[in-house]
């Protein structure tokens, strides 16, 4: 059967309707597929969340022990003022006091600008480790004076003292009867480390 133009015109509306119906069907399928893909993603996220929560719960005993153990160290850091802002005046006081108490002949020092040594990720905020490099020069009568100086410095707190280098050399000066002549000279580089815990309660 051959179709006339009139026949084809009569078929146009049903054809458009059929295409619209199929298009609507495909849109429904697309929507269903999209919803399914999103549901799969949500399920994967929920599974990961549940797994993480379960694992954290399973580790809780270990965590409790860890908290107990680490809390002691943390408190000690706080007591020694290693945790907190730099106390440069305290450092200067401590060095003066050590020199006076240990009767050191000559002592000079220079503390450089503070630098961020490391930022450790934490929750809810990072923990930042700062370091200030101190160069100290001492005239010594005996090498034991250097060791005592370092021990006193550590005991004074206000920072963690990480000795990076120490050179001990003879001065070559001969001892005189009237003045105490330094026989040794020590030059040390020490990092004064402080910690800022941004999540710590003030």
């Amino acid at each position: 059967m051959n179709f006339t133009r009139e026949d084809l015109a009569k078929l146009a509306a049903p054809l458009v309707l059929a295409l619209a119906l199929i298009g609507a069907g495909l849109a429904i399928v697309w929507s269903a597929n999209d919803a399914r893909a999103k549901a799969l993603t949500r399920l994967a996220e929920a599974q990961a969340e549940r797994r993480q929560a379960s694992q954290r719960l399973a580790r809780i005993a270990e965590e409790e022990r860890e908290v107990h153990e680490k809390l002691d160290v943390y408190k000690q850091l706080k007591r020694l003022h290693i945790l907190g802002e730099e106390q440069r005046l305290e450092w200067a006081d401590a060095i003066s006091r050590i020199r006076r108490e240990r009767e050191l002949l000559d002592l000079s020092y220079r503390v450089d600008r503070q630098k961020l040594a490391k930022s450790v990720p934490g929750k809810p905020a990072n923990v930042d480790f700062f370091a200030s490099l101190m160069r100290v020069q001492l005239d010594l009568l005996h090498e034991e004076d250097l060791l005592r100086f370092l021990a006193d410095l550590r005991a004074s707190g206000n920072a963690y003292y990480a000795v990076k280098s120490c050179s001990l050399t003879r001065t070559g000066q001969a001892a005189s009867g009237t003045n105490m002549t330094p026989r040794l000279r020590a030059v040390c580089e020490i990092e004064l480390i402080t910690v800022i815990d941004k999540a710590a309660k003030r």
């Binding site: 049903p14 069907g25 399920l43 923990v127 990480a162």
Partner: protein
């Protein structure tokens, strides 16, 4: 709803068929008055669906063979054969009876059928055309007979179907599920007994005629005849047809059962056997019919319109079913996700309940851990020089002839000695050897090497030794034999290393 025009030689009856119900809508006489009444009836029924079912005596059946062809070639040869056989091919049909092999080629057997007087249809078909109705087809009762025989349970290869219609006694010979021959014998008002006897005599006559034409096989097996008895006359028919005959075996079918077989639930009063054919034409009309494609154009377009919409609806339904399955799956996934989230929330709540009993910290657990772990790492990487000095001091006590001028202690490698030192701690000792003559090369070298060996203990490794005299092949060996002794003690340098944890 479909309208059926039952076309007989005298009157024409218009039925409406819907849901297994036949209703008589109008009756028209076969003359011009009837045509006018029909035109009046069609007024306002634009687009209505019509089928014409002819039940006429003047129907011609002629068997032909044509070459076995398909598509347009077959259509062309069929139309040519119809044109050769009939003067007016407006209402002519070619029914395929299957293929047959001849010694020359494979042929197709055709049953050409038409009416001897097609002009009687013309005004009625024209009226339908003018009224803008949709003509599904023009059928004759014999064309519907194979379908009725099948519905009535005809099993054998050949069946003679006999019905008493309003137009007369209709006899259709069906072979292999296809129509082979039919005839209509007009009847007058008669008693059931007389009608049954008439059925018997006419059926036997037809069987004899078919045998004469050699349409029936010569093996002598009797021809089964299915006779649909008029309502309430089955017993009379069974009695009249019961006596066996060598040529025909009669099987009487109750009219009610026949109606049930074609799913006809209601037919108007006075309707006879033709109701069965009308119902079949309304419900599931056969492909073969007489109307030309021109007469059926509106119906074909309408059917295509419906087909397109049906295809669209089917596509939509398939998509909805598929999407429904996906939505169900999505709902299940969402339920699973909600369950997982609930379990996570429960675990978190339990965790928080337990951690609430932990000692009070001034920071979060994560920061507490991060602070202490990193601080420990820094502390482990920051050794104090005291232990190194103590180690050197202990070794020096064993070597009183050694005098140290300088000790350089540092964490990490010196820039000068990158390749041969260890990552960790480095101690460089510079000194002199006293109480040994400068000219005693071997003694001096041995003492420095012993001293260096003693220092390389307690975790320290010997990284390098610079002797008073360079005795390595890579160095420069110098000497001043017989010269004046300056009194300066020979100098050495020892480098130690230690790995940090």
């Amino acid at each position: 709803m479909r309208r059926l025009l039952y076309f007989t030689a005298d009157d024409h009856f218009l039925y409406s068929a819907s849901g297994g119900r036949l209703e008589l809508e109008a009756k028209f006489s076969g003359d011009d008055l009837g045509v006018s009444a029909f035109r009046d009836y069609l007024r306002g029924r634009r687009g209505a669906l019509f089928s014409v079912i002819a039940d006429l005596a003047g129907e011609d059946f002629h068997e032909e063979q044509v070459p076995f062809l398909r598509g347009a070639d077959r259509e062309a040869i069929v139309q040519r054969r119809l044109a050769q056989r009939y003067r007016d091919t407006r209402l002519a049909a070619a029914l395929s009876l299957g293929s047959v092999m001849t010694p020359q080629r494979r042929n197709e057997r055709l049953l050409l059928a038409s009416f001897t007087n097609t002009q009687q249809f013309a005004p009625w078909l024209d009226a339908l055309e003018e009224a803008d109705t949709r003509l599904a087809g023009v059928y004759s009762v014999p064309l519907l007979a194979p379908a009725l025989a099948a519905r009535l349970g005809a099993r054998g290869p050949r069946t003679l179907l006999v019905t008493a219609n309003r137009a007369g006694l209709r006899q259709c010979f069906v072979e292999g599920g296809r129509l082979r021959f039919a005839r209509l014998e007009r009847t007058v008002e008669m008693t059931p007994q007389a009608l049954a006897a008439f059925v018997r005599s006419e059926t036997l006559r037809l069987a004899q005629y078919l045998a004469t034409l050699r349409v029936l096989p010569r093996d002598g097996s009797p021809l089964p005849a299915l006779v649909v008895a008029p309502p309430g006359e089955r017993a009379v028919f069974e009695q009249a047809l019961g006596s066996s005959d060598a040529r025909v075996v009669f099987q009487t079918v109750d009219h009610a059962r026949a109606r049930s077989a074609v799913r006809l639930r209601h037919a108007p009063e006075g309707t006879a056997g033709e109701a069965l054919y009308l119902q079949l034409a309304a419900r599931k009309a056969p492909r073969e019919q007489f109307a030309s494609s021109g007469d059926r154009r509106r119906f074909q377009v309408w059917r295509l319109q419906r087909g397109l919409v049906a295809a669209g609806l089917s596509g939509l339904a398939a998509c909805v079913v598929f999407a429904g399955a996906r939505w169900l799956e999505t709902a299940q996934l969402n339920a699973n996700a909600a369950e997982q989230r609930l379990e996570a929330a429960r675990a978190t709540e339990r965790y928080q309940r337990i951690t609430a009993t932990f000692p009070v910290t001034e920071t979060t657990t994560e920061n507490l851990r991060a602070t202490v772990l990193e601080f420990r790492r820094i502390a482990e990487a920051s050794p104090q020089p005291e232990s190194a000095f103590a180690h050197i001091s202990r070794v020096l006590e064993q070597f009183p002839q050694m005098e140290l001028d300088a000790i350089h202690w540092r964490v990490g490698r010196s820039e000068k000695r990158e390749a041969d030192t260890l990552d960790g701690l480095e101690v460089v000792l510079s000194g002199r050897v006293s109480a040994t003559q400068r000219s005693d090369y071997r003694g001096l070298t041995a003492q420095v090497q012993r001293f260096a060996g003693a220092l390389a203990s307690g975790g320290y490794q010997l990284v390098g030794t610079q002797l008073p005299f360079d005795i390595t092949s890579a160095g420069t060996l110098t000497g001043d034999i017989g010269g004046r002794d300056t009194g300066e003690a020979p100098r050495f340098t020892i480098t130690l290393g230690r790995k940090l944890p």
